[in-house]
Symmetry: C2
Subunit: 182 residues, 2 copies
């Protein structure tokens, strides 16, 4: 057992919100030391790097938390449907957010957004051969989402234009793949 | 004015914690629509991609929020000292966490960890020419941090071994630079 191993000994929900909640929990290390930590619980999310031969499909949308009306992101959504797998969630979001579909889905990686504070995980997928989904669900009206077909030969400009963690990781992985294959 | 522009009209702190707080706030769009959002406020952080000619310096540490005793990360710290710039914070963390110093500091980018929920920003720096800092502050005993000198020629393995957003972004940017220069 390493001196970094710990077990949770107790926890109390100190805030219960609509999407997130906050828990104040106690942990004990193998050597007996005890610490208290605040943990933000989050349902998790799915992000989709959606490409066809010439474009990666991005969205611009208002993000109140970071005071940005035009946040540039890959299509994404909360993992908030009981029993839905991350990949199925990604397929649904691709239809709802940008009215596209894709046959070729690959799990790129799953990452944690803020390891010191929050348990949010984002499952990142690469969806290739993206095409119009005529029967896709229309987006919620209040989502105020603009779809941007970003040329793949200007990928570096998209990386420079976003501040969003899932979009940076997704586009940097895409750039590495394209550098390797081309 | 775009239909995505919004202004905050009111807000109330619904949880005040040690590091984070939660605000329930109201926003109004240009067309008059109003929405309520929960926002987690976070002080922000600094992450350092610290390299010498052969290594990138990483740390392993316990992260209760994601239930991981051995989270592999770049050196980092909270922006919790009033009046300290992000770069000075990075210099201090490099000394405190891994007892190193560097003369060459470059701001890589600043990103948002979770744009839908939280205002946390992480300022990422590249510190080159890293060397021992004999007069560095010793790390807090309770930090339980193991320093890992990771060989640069095995950078892809570090990228595959971490789940942490700042570490993924930092190491992917480092890999792209090395690919371009080599």
């Amino acid at each position: 057992m390493s001196d970094r191993d710990f077990t949770k000994t107790s926890g109390e929900t100190v805030y219960e919100g609509k999407i997130i909640s906050v828990e104040k929990a106690q942990y004990r290390f193998a050597d007996g030391d005890e610490i208290t930590r605040e943990v933000v619980h989050h349902p998790g999310a799915v992000g989709v790097v959606a490409v066809d031969d010439e474009h990666v499909y991005l969205v611009r949308q208002p993000r109140q938390a970071i005071d940005d009306p035009d946040c540039l992101e890959i299509p994404a959504g909360l993992l908030d449907k009981e029993g839905e797998s991350p990949e199925d969630n990604g397929r649904r979001e691709l239809g709802e957010e940008i009215a596209k579909q894709a046959d070729d889905w690959e799990h790129l990686l799953t990452f944690c957004t803020s390891v010191g504070s929050m348990d949010e995980q984002v499952h990142l997928y690469l969806a290739s051969g993206v095409r119009d989904a005529p029967d896709a669900e229309p987006p919620d009206e209040d989502e105020r989402i603009e779809v941007v077909a970003w040329p793949l030969d200007r990928l570096d400009e998209a990386i420079a234009a976003t501040r969003d963690s899932k979009t940076l990781i997704g586009l940097l992985l895409l750039r590495n793949r394209r550098a390797k294959s081309g």
